[in-house]
C-alpha cells in the first residue's frame, strides 16, 4: 500500500493547491457516493409523499403563476401554453434554489461531524447538489408528461438542454462552496437565503422570456442582466425543450464564463476556510 505524506501547516492561501485537493478527493469518492445515496434516501424515505416532493414545488409555483396571469389576462409565454412555458423554466430554477439552500448550510449543519472526523469537506455540499440533480431529473420527467399533455414535441434543439444543465451545475457548485464557506463565519447567509432567492427568481427569465427583457432594457443594462448566469441557463433550457429555438448564444456564453470563473475561486476559498472550520463552526 502506498504511504501518502501529509503536511499540516498554518492556514495560508498560498498553501492551497486546488489540483492536489482534487486528486485527494479520489480516495474519498466512495464516501461521496455513500453520502449522496444517504441524502437521497433520507429525503424521500422518511416522508409520506416521498418522491412527489421533488415535483410538488415547481408544480405549485406553476399553478400559482398560471392563475395569476390568467386573472390579469396576460400571457408572457407567447406561442406555448403558459403552464408549460413557466414549468420548463421552473424545473432548472428549483434545482438551483433548493440545491443552493441546502448546500450552503452543509458545513454549519454538520458541526459535530466536522469537529471529530477529517475528510474533504467539499463532499458535504456536493452531496446536496447530487440530491438537487435527482430532484431535477424527476422534475424533467413531469415536464415530459406535460409536453405530451399539451402536445408539444421537442425538436432537434433539445440537445441544448444538456450544456445548459452542465453550466447550471458548475455555477451551483461554485456558488454553494462559496456560500457554505462564508456561512461558517457569517450565519447571516442562511437567513438571507430566502430573500436572495425570491429576488433572484424575479431577476431571472423564469416567468417571462429573455426576449422581453432585451426589448425593454438598453443594451448596457441588458448585458448586466445576463451576467446573472441563470438568465442564459434557464432561457436556453426552455427554448431547447418547449420553444424549439436555438439558445441565446451570447447569454449562454456569459453564463458559462461566470460559472467557470467562480468555481476555482470559490474552491480555493473553501479549502482555505476548511483548515479551521472545526474551530469556528
Amino acid at each position: 500500500m502506498i504511504r501518502p505524506t501529509v503536511v499540516y501547516e498554518p492556514p495560508a492561501l498560498r498553501h492551497i493547491h486546488p489540483i492536489a485537493a482534487l486528486r485527494g478527493l479520489r480516495q474519498f469518492f466512495d464516501l461521496f457516493v455513500t453520502l449522496s445515496l444517504h441524502r437521497v434516501n433520507v429525503r424521500y424515505k422518511q416522508s409520506r409523499l416521498g418522491i412527489l416532493w421533488a415535483v410538488l414545488q415547481p408544480l405549485a409555483m406553476m399553478i400559482v403563476f398560471t392563475l395569476m396571469f390568467t386573472l390579469v389576462r396576460a400571457n408572457p409565454g407567447g406561442p406555448v401554453p403558459f403552464p408549460l412555458f413557466a414549468y420548463a423554466a421552473l424545473v432548472p430554477w428549483t434545482m438551483f434554489a433548493s440545491g443552493l439552500t441546502s448546500a450552503a448550510s452543509a458545513l454549519t449543519s454538520h458541526a459535530s461531524l466536522l469537529t471529530k472526523v477529517a475528510f474533504p469537506r467539499e463532499i458535504l455540499p456536493l452531496t446536496y447538489i447530487v440530491a438537487a440533480l435527482v430532484d431535477f431529473l424527476l422534475g424533467a420527467l413531469v415536464l415530459g408528461a406535460l409536453m405530451v399533455w399539451f402536445d408539444v414535441s421537442p425538436g432537434w434543439h433539445a440537445f441544448w438542454a444538456a450544456p445548459s444543465i452542465l453550466i447550471l451545475t458548475t455555477f451551483l457548485i461554485g456558488l454553494a462552496l462559496l456560500l457554505a464557506a462564508v456561512q461558517v463565519r457569517y450565519r447571516d447567509v442562511g437567513l438571507a437565503m430566502p430573500v436572495l432567492l425570491q429576488v433572484w427568481l424575479f431577476a431571472s427569465p423564469v416567468l417571462y422570456s429573455l426576449d422581453a427583457v432585451r426589448a425593454s432594457l438598453p443594451p448596457p443594462l441588458y448585458f448586466i442582466y445576463t451576467l446573472n448566469p441563470l438568465a442564459g441557463i434557464v432561457e436556453t433550457f426552455r427554448r431547447a425543450l418547449v420553444l424549439h429555438q436555438a439558445p441565446d448564444y451570447a447569454a449562454l456564453l456569459t453564463a458559462a464564463i461566470v460559472a467557470l470563473l467562480l468555481l476555482p475561486i470559490a474552491y480555493v476559498y473553501f479549502k482555505y476556510v476548511e483548515l479551521t472550520v472545526a474551530d469556528t463552526v
Binding site: R3, Y8, H38
Partner: protein, 396 residues
C-alpha cells in the same frame, strides 16, 4: 535509522474565545515537538484541558495549527470519539460503510472486511438494526472495530480504551498489539495510565499546552503523579467568605500508608485518603461520602460513608483507611461530598481532580478482590497435634 511516521515541529494552536466585541485569544498548545518512529507507540497524558485533545485534532487533520508544522507519513486512522461518524437512523451495516468511508476506505474494502468487523464488535444479531437502538457499549465496539480493521499506517486513538467492558478492552489491546507487530505507528491519548505504560514505548506529559515531560512511559507517569500530588498538597484557593452552605471540601489526597514515597497504591494493599474541609459555621449532623470512579471518570464503582459527624469553624480533616484495597490495577478517580443528614442535601463537594493509580499487587487480576485469610489443615495419621500441623498465613 527508522523513518519517522509522525513529526510535530514547534506546533502551537491558538483559539479565539468570546463573542465578537470582547474577543480574546489563548494558546491551547505551544512549542510542542514530538517525533514518533515507525512501528512505535507514543502515549500522551495530562490533566483535562492540558491540550491533549487539541494536539489530537491537529494530528488527525481536523483543524490546522497556528504555528509550526506536522508531517505524517502514511495512511492515518483517527478515532476521536468512537462512533462519531455514525448516523442514528442508519443500521449497523449502513453505518459500517458510512463510518469506514469517512475514514477513507473503499466500499469494496469495507465489504470484504464487514464480517470480521461485525464479529470483532460482537454485534452480529443487531447488524441490521438502526444504531439508535444500540447500547453505548455496542456503539463503541462497532466504532473501534471499524477503525482497527482499516489497517492504517498510523493509528490515533483518543480516550477510547477507557470505555467498553473488560473483555472488549482486552480484545482492543490485543488488536493494537497485532497492528503494532505489523508495523503500525500508534499514538494514544488516555487517562488510563496503566494502558499507556503497557502499550507505549514512550510518553509525553502535557501541562497547560506545553510539554512538561517526555521519555519512558513509567518515568513520565511517575512525573505526572508527583505533579498531581504536589498540586493537591498546594495551599488551596481561599474559600469564599460567605459560604452559603457553611462547609466545603478543600482537598482530597491519597497515599499508601505502608510506603509514603510511593506514587501509587497496590492492589490488595493499604490505602489512606485524607479529606480536608473548611466550615464557616457549626453544623451538628453531616456525613462525608468518598466516591470511587472508574477511569472514564463517570462510572461510580464504590462509595464509602462516615457516620454522623459534627463539624465546626474553621474545619478539619477526615481520614479514611482501607486495609486491603479491593481494586484491580488501573487508574481511578476519587470524589467526595458532604451532606446534611437532616435534609439529605449536598452541602459541599470536592471540585478538584484526584486520581488513584493502583499497581498490580500479589494476587492475580480478576473481577473482584476479596480480602481473605487462609490456612492449611493437614490430615495426618499419627498423633493429633494441631499446633504443629495447622499453619495460618494472612495474604493480601
Amino acid at each position: 535509522m527508522t523513518p519517522l511516521d509522525i513529526s510535530v515541529q514547534n506546533v502551537g494552536k491558538q483559539y479565539r474565545i468570546g463573542a465578537a466585541r470582547e474577543r480574546s485569544t489563548f494558546w491551547a498548545l505551544r512549542n510542542v515537538s514530538i517525533d514518533v518512529a515507525r512501528g512505535t507507540s507514543l502515549g500522551i497524558i495530562g490533566r483535562n484541558g492540558a491540550g491533549k485533545s487539541t494536539l489530537f485534532k491537529l494530528l488527525a487533520g481536523i483543524t490546522a495549527p497556528t504555528t509550526g508544522r506536522i508531517v505524517l507519513n502514511g495512511r492515518v486512522a483517527a478515532l476521536i470519539e468512537v462512533g462519531s461518524g455514525f448516523h442514528p437512523e442508519l443500521t449497523g451495516r449502513e453505518n459500517v460503510f458510512l463510518s469506514g468511508s469517512l475514514l477513507g476506505m473503499k466500499r469494496r474494502e469495507i465489504a470484504s472486511k464487514l464480517n470480521r468487523i461485525v464479529e470483532f464488535a460482537g454485534v452480529e444479531r443487531f447488524i441490521d438494526t438502526p444504531v439508535k437502538w444500540y447500547s453505548s457499549g455496542m456503539y463503541v465496539r462497532l466504532g473501534f472495530a471499524i477503525a482497527a480493521h482499516l489497517e492504517p499506517h498510523i493509528l490515533l486513538v483518543d480516550e477510547v480504551l477507557a470505555v467498553g467492558d473488560a473483555e472488549f478492552q482486552a480484545r482492543c489491546l490485543q488488536r493494537i498489539q497485532e497492528l503494532k507487530a505489523q508495523g503500525t505507528t500508534n499514538l494514544f491519548i488516555s487517562h488510563d495510565l496503566t494502558a499507556i505504560e503497557r502499550l507505549c514505548d514512550s510518553a509525553v506529559l502535557l501541562e497547560r499546552g506545553e510539554m512538561a515531560a517526555t521519555g519512558a512511559p513509567a518515568d513520565v507517569v511517575a512525573t505526572y503523579h508527583r505533579r498531581l500530588i504536589a498540586h493537591a498538597n498546594a495551599p488551596g484557593e481561599p474559600v469564599a467568605k460567605a459560604l452559603k452552605s457553611g462547609i466545603t471540601v478543600t482537598n482530597l489526597a491519597t497515599w499508601d500508608p505502608g510506603d509514603s514515597d510511593s506514587i501509587a497504591c497496590r492492589s490488595g494493599g493499604p490505602l489512606a485518603v485524607t479529606l480536608k474541609y473548611e466550615a464557616t459555621r457549626m453544623l451538628p449532623a453531616v456525613e462525608f461520602e468518598l466516591r470511587f470512579y472508574a477511569a472514564d471518570g463517570t462510572t461510580r464503582i464504590a462509595t464509602l460513608q462516615t457516620g454522623e459527624v459534627s463539624v465546626d469553624v474553621p474545619g478539619g480533616t477526615i481520614e479514611f483507611a482501607v486495609a486491603a484495597l479491593p481494586l484491580n490495577a488501573g487508574s481511578y478517580f476519587l470524589g467526595a461530598v458532604v451532606r446534611d443528614l437532616a435534609s439529605g442535601k449536598d452541602l459541599g463537594w470536592w471540585d478538584g481532580e484526584t486520581r488513584l493509580h493502583v499497581q498490580e499487587g500479589q494476587g492475580r487480576a480478576s473481577e473482584y478482590q476479596i480480602p481473605h485469610t487462609w490456612r492449611h489443615v493437614q490430615a495426618d495419621a499419627g498423633e493429633r497435634t494441631p499446633a504443629a500441623s495447622v499453619r495460618s498465613k494472612p495474604t493480601g
